[in-house]
């Protein structure tokens, strides 16, 4: 599964992209963030869940969204375009 990070999340994680292989019991976006947060720098980057937004295969998704079958997961701050 390909992880993408943007803006200050990218800077906090230290990379904009990485491959991860979560275990089968990781079934929602919230589970995935918990699992990634077992180590630094992810634990610090993801500490404040209210400041995170996510997308599954390019579509905005809530923290309780299922991730089964997803090939690309993105984690980023609230958007500030325009």
């Amino acid at each position: 599964m390909r992880m993408l990070y943007f803006a200050w999340v990218r800077e906090a994680v230290g990379t904009g992209e990485e491959q991860v292989t979560p275990p089968a019991e990781v079934s929602t976006m919230a589970d995935l963030i918990d699992w990634l947060s077992k180590d630094e720098p992810h634990a610090t980057a993801f500490a404040d869940r209210d400041r995170l937004r996510t997308a599954v295969d390019g579509v905005f998704a809530a923290l309780d969204a299922p991730i089964a079958g997803a090939s690309e997961i993105a984690i980023f701050p609230p958007v500030t375009g325009g």
Binding site: W8, V79, G82
Partner: protein
């Protein structure tokens, strides 16, 4: 016509307007957002999520075309570094009547603020800071919910 572009090049307003006017409609409403010069920012960077951005903008434009029976909807958004006074974003709606064009243009800019994955980083004298999301943007987008 739906035209959605995410580009690092400057936005050519005259070219965009001429393309819109070729559709032979009654009214064209536009909005141009500029990098503000009045709060000490000397450089603005725009980051985005390639692919997802274009899909989000196309969905916003398609909804506007359907809702206001537009002849054309255009969203051009710049990414990368830009200077105060430069255009960040351009939205336009063309319709037979002015009310549809004006409302749809407001919709395009309000929705893209909340629906498209762009992030701004402001530079002031060598210090860089990610811009925080504005609650006002959520409220502006929410008023279009039917």
């Amino acid at each position: 016509m739906i035209r959605v572009v995410v580009q690092s090049a400057a936005i050519d307003l005259a070219a965009e307007l001429e393309a819109l006017e070729r559709h032979g409609v009654g009214g064209i409403a536009t909005f141009s957002g500029l990098v503000r010069a009045d709060d000490g920012v000397d450089l603005l960077e725009l980051e985005h999520y390639p692919g997802a951005t274009e899909r989000a903008l196309e969905a916003v434009a398609a909804t506007a075309v359907e809702r206001w029976s537009l002849a054309a909807a255009v969203i051009i958004h710049r990414v990368g570094p830009m200077r105060p006074g430069e255009r960040i974003v351009f939205t336009a709606a063309a319709a037979a009547h002015r009310a549809a064009a004006l409302e749809a243009c407001a919709y395009l800019i309000d929705r893209l603020k909340t629906d498209a994955p762009f992030w701004k980083r402001e530079h002031r004298g060598g210090e860089a800071r990610w811009v925080e999301a504005r609650r006002g943007d959520d409220l502006a987008a929410a008023r279009w919910q039917t």
